[in-house]
């Protein structure tokens, strides 16, 4: 009846695991109680969960990312503490629990922190930057969100029921095969990734269609803000790379559940095929994670240097070149696994080649800074911290691309240092910059800058303290994923690394305080003009937060940095005249997407625990709900032209009052907002 699910599933094997389960359960209960006490359920359902608006969906994506970031960060902290004390001793974590921790940490950071973070930021920003009223497929957008959330919920469930995989974030068989890991762990991993992967694919398709079909008149491709270009490239990579992951995990699931022989040791199975498929997705994936951050940095650096980005076209071509090349390097993840020297040489060279467009970008950003009138708000700090730190990571990457070097440090913590050196400054800092930069647009008030800076400095210094020692340790021969060791020379460096994570923890605390303080002072921080940074692209021309329809009359774009140019000309907020306003349609809320997310969760949960009837139920429910949707009519709501006109007139009048002299000139709106 309940498959493999029984009382044994409770996490009594480790005190830390039991505590984590308790915290997770209490956390959920606390949220439920809070919502009930404050009578917020209807509000939550109507305003948020069922909303199909791109901005709200984007915000929900980011909330998922931040919650999961907290969990994955705590796991990193536990790993670091364990390694700091585990010299010649067992430390405080049982071996098996330690293995779960690095697996969940890696998998969550990639699938449930960075992916939803960047998807959420693209959601909020992309339609506004290209002058669109929403994404191309709002309902599909909600499906993507709720599938991703279902995947995250599945990972959270594994805290309480059963155990997560111990096979690392890359889940290589034979280790994750049925013989070595017969439990539910790898199945949790498989299904969480599958749900997230489908969610991402759906989002990628949506972004591509939006960019291709919904750009405002005059917004040619080569006039798009760079963030849109990187969103496009990332989406293309998602659409073409994720199928490889889907195949890899599905086949592994078939092996485990039905005794197929794709990746088994016997009967003609071929483990290398998993490794190939995984990295065929995995390398493009790192660019999926990094490119949107590059886009955000381009916007931030230009805005806070108060000049246009240097080498726009070269940045576009570098982005696309990285996208194409990212499919040609996957073998560098397993130079040591028996390919011939020529094959290794080819992939080594390709890996160095991909550093070239990346280098082009770095120079473009430096030239943008050069002779700019720099302002050092929090987003800009993250951008500069990124530039300095990322170059180090890039250099170590080129080192690793030399197969003989890779042989000596393969699978050591040198590699851990390298990819954290890419992904923390390159992707996470990019998302933090984007978060601080676009927060006022999405929510309506700015984030407190002082706490933002403190957070930044702790993150930056903590990063160096936590990861630079790992380069050394790697060269001293420390392999990754070690839960104990007997080499006395390592311990001081591991203690230093743990101290670094404590610094990062202080950064996280600052960021939490920043959110609280900003919310408390939201009236003082209110972004009245919609243009708090003297921005350059169209998103800053609308109110913060923008109305549900974004643009009552779609803008006509005549140049790059369209909003900046129009401010220079003193025509930032033109009055199109009453005749330009037409009735428009916005999507009505729909609870079906939430329901599909739940159905998918049930399906995945049942598949993990092998509860046949429940899986069938979840599958049938998902299918029926989709069909139901296709029979619905009246899924959009008309907003009359008069409403739009009145709204715009009100906003123009408010802007006249805010900006002295009533004339909206270059920078005037911004200085009005920033005392």
């Amino acid at each position: 009846m309940w498959g493999r699910l029984s009382a044994d599933a409770l996490p009594v094997y480790s005190i830390v695991a039991a505590a984590a389960a308790g915290i997770a359960v209490l956390g959920v209960l606390a949220v439920i109680v809070l919502l009930t006490v404050t009578h917020r359920w209807t509000w939550l359902w109507r305003e948020w969960l069922t909303s199909l608006n791109h901005r709200r969906i984007g915000i929900m994506y980011v909330i998922v990312a931040l919650v999961m970031l907290l969990r994955a960060f705590i796991e990193a902290l536990l790993i670091r503490v364990q390694q700091a004390i585990a010299y010649d001793s067992g430390g405080f974590l049982p071996t098996e629990h330690f293995a779960q921790l690095f697996t969940t940490h890696g998998s969550i950071m990639i699938f449930f922190v960075l992916m939803p973070f960047l998807t959420g930021m693209i959601n909020v920003v992309l339609p506004l930057q290209i002058g669109a009223r929403d994404l191309a497929f709002p309902w599909l957008n909600a499906i993507g969100l709720w599938l991703t959330t279902a995947g995250a919920a599945l990972v959270m469930t594994s805290l309480v029921l059963g155990r997560f995989s111990t096979g690392g974030w890359s889940g290589y068989p034979n280790y994750t095969g049925a013989i070595v890991s017969p439990g539910v762990g790898p199945d949790y991993w498989i299904w969480a990734l599958t749900l997230a992967g489908i969610g991402s694919t759906v989002a990628g398709i949506n972004f591509i269609a939006t960019i291709w079909k919904l750009r405002a008149p005059g917004m040619t491709l080569m006039r798009m803000p760079l963030f849109c270009w990187t969103a496009l490239c990332t989406s293309l990579l998602i659409v073409f790379a994720f199928p490889a992951l889907t195949v890899a995990t599905s086949l592994l699931w078939l092996d485990r559940t039905f005794g197929f022989h794709f990746f088994t040791q016997t009967d003609g199975g071929n483990m290398m095929q998993f490794v190939n498929l995984f990295w065929l997705w995995g390398h493009p994936e790192v660019y999926i994670l990094i490119l949107p951050a590059f886009g955000a940095f381009s916007e931030v650096i230009a805005t806070f240097s108060q000049k246009k980005v240097f080498g726009y076209a070269s940045l576009v071509f570098a982005t696309m070149a990285i996208g194409v090349l990212s499919f040609t390097v996957w073998l560098h993840h397993f130079f040591t696994m028996g390919a011939s020297p020529n094959v290794n040489a080819f992939f080594g060279i390709m890996t160095m080649v991909i550093a070239v467009p990346t280098g082009v970008k770095v120079y473009d950003w430096l030239f943008t800074l050069y002779r700019g009138r720099l302002r050092f708000d929090t987003p800009m700090l993250y951008a500069i911290g990124f530039l300095v730190t990322f170059v180090i990571g890039g250099v170590t990457g080129v080192l690793l691309a030399i197969p003989p070097v890779d042989y000596t440090v393969h699978n050591s913590v040198f590699l851990i240092a390298h990819f954290h050196n890419m992904l923390i400054p390159g992707s996470l800092f990019g998302m933090f910059a984007a978060f601080n930069f676009w927060f006022p647009k999405a929510v309506g008030f700015r984030l407190d800058d002082a706490w933002g800076r403190r957070g930044f400095w702790f993150w930056l210094t903590g990063f160096y303290a936590a990861f630079m020692p790992l380069y050394l340790l790697g060269m001293m021969g420390m392999s990754r994923r070690l839960e104990r060791y007997s080499h006395p020379g390592w311990q001081p460096w591991l203690v230093l690394a743990a101290f670094g994570v404590v610094l990062i923890a202080a950064g996280v605390v600052c960021q939490v305080i920043q959110l609280y303080v900003s919310w408390r002072d939201r009236e003082a921080l209110r972004d009245a003009t919609g243009d708090p940074w003297d921005g350059r692209a169209l998103e800053w021309s609308v109110a913060s937060p923008p109305p549900e329809w974004n643009f009552a009359v779609r803008p006509r774009v005549r140049s790059r940095d369209a909003f900046h140019e129009s401010k220079v000309e003193g025509l930032a907020y033109p009055d199109p005249g009453r005749d330009a306003y037409r009735d428009i349609f916005v999507p009505r809320n729909s609870g079906l997407a939430v329901a599909i997310g739940w159905a998918a969760y049930v399906l995945a949960f049942a598949a993990v625990w092998r509860i046949g009837w429940l899986a069938a139920l979840g599958l049938a429910a998902s299918v029926l709900l989709v069909i139901w949707r296709s029979f619905q009519t009246g899924t959009t709501e008309r907003i009359p032209a008069q409403t739009l006109y009145d709204y715009d007139r009100g906003r123009r009048e408010a802007l006249m009052r805010l900006v002295p002299g009533g004339e909206i000139m270059h920078g005037a709106a911004a200085s009005g907002a920033r005392p």
């Binding site: 669109a132 191309a136 497929f137 599909l140 694919t201 990628g204 398709i205 949506n206 591509i208 269609a209 291709w212 079909k213 919904l214 405002a216 659409v239 073409f240 199928p243 490889a244 195949v247 086949l251 078939l254 092996d255 039905f258 005794g259 197929f260 022989h261 794709f262 088994t264 016997t266 009967d267 003609g268 199975g269 071929n270 498929l277 065929l280 021309s541 779609r554 803008p555 006509r556 774009v557 005549r558 140049s559 369209a562 900046h564 140019e565 000309e569 025509l571 930032a572 033109p574 199109p576 005249g577 005749d579 330009a580 037409r582 428009i584 349609f585 299918v623 069909i627 296709s630 029979f631």
Partner: protein, 202 residues
């Protein structure tokens, strides 16, 4: 010259599907699905050598079912084409008839495939026997699952075609369904040549 002006009202139609965003988005999905099949084909090619103690392609695979399967699916592409023509001509009756015929053929295809799989299993050639058979069942089965999904979708479209007013969304969905069906046929041609012909002939 201003950088941001206001669009002429005639350009202001983004809320319906006039600019073909749904068809475009569906094409992108098909590209992604094609990538999925490309990976499955590649995996099959790798697994072909992994016969373990089981049979090789020449012994395990035959044309007895695959040939009629191919004929049925190709015919269903034709009937789907007629359905699309009927849609263009606003001929609801023939739309329903041709769409119905397509689904019947799809069902026949699935029945043949089920019989084929069943026959193989009866001989002992199950996916559990070897990497090669796993690869075979996964690739051919993935196509079969796509056809099954297509049947569910097609039934929903049959109902909508028969009962609704053939509004723009219904038309657009029917168009995408036709695209999907043709796509599956294309994949099948690949499977037939690479798995069946190569398996039995060479």
């Amino acid at each position: 010259m201003t950088a941001v002006g206001s669009a002429a009202p005639s350009m202001d139609r983004v809320d319906d599907d006039e600019n073909g965003k749904s068809a475009f988005g569906f094409w992108v999905f098909l590209m992604s699905d094609a990538a999925l099949f490309a990976v499955l084909f590649a995996t099959y090619a790798v697994m072909m050598r992994g016969t373990g103690s089981g049979p090789g392609p020449a012994e395990a695979i035959g044309l007895k079912y695959a040939f009629p399967e191919t004929l049925v699916l190709l015919t269903s592409t034709l009937t789907m084409g007629f359905a699309a023509m009927a849609l263009h001509a606003d001929a609801r009756r023939s739309l329903v008839v041709w769409l119905g015929a397509t689904l019947v053929l799809g069902a026949v295809f699935l029945a043949l495939e089920a019989a084929e799989f069943h026959g193989m299993a009866a001989k002992g050639d199950t996916p559990q026997v070897s990497g090669f058979l796993s690869g075979f069942f996964a690739l051919v089965g993935a196509h079969g699952l796509h056809v099954t999904a297509g049947m569910v979708w097609g039934l929903a479209m049959l109902v909508q075609g028969a009962t609704s007013d053939l509004s723009a969304p219904v038309r657009s969905r029917l168009g995408r369904f036709a695209l999907y069906w043709h796509f599956l046929d294309l994949i099948w041609v690949g499977i037939f040549s690479i798995v069946y012909l190569r398996g039995t002939l060479g």
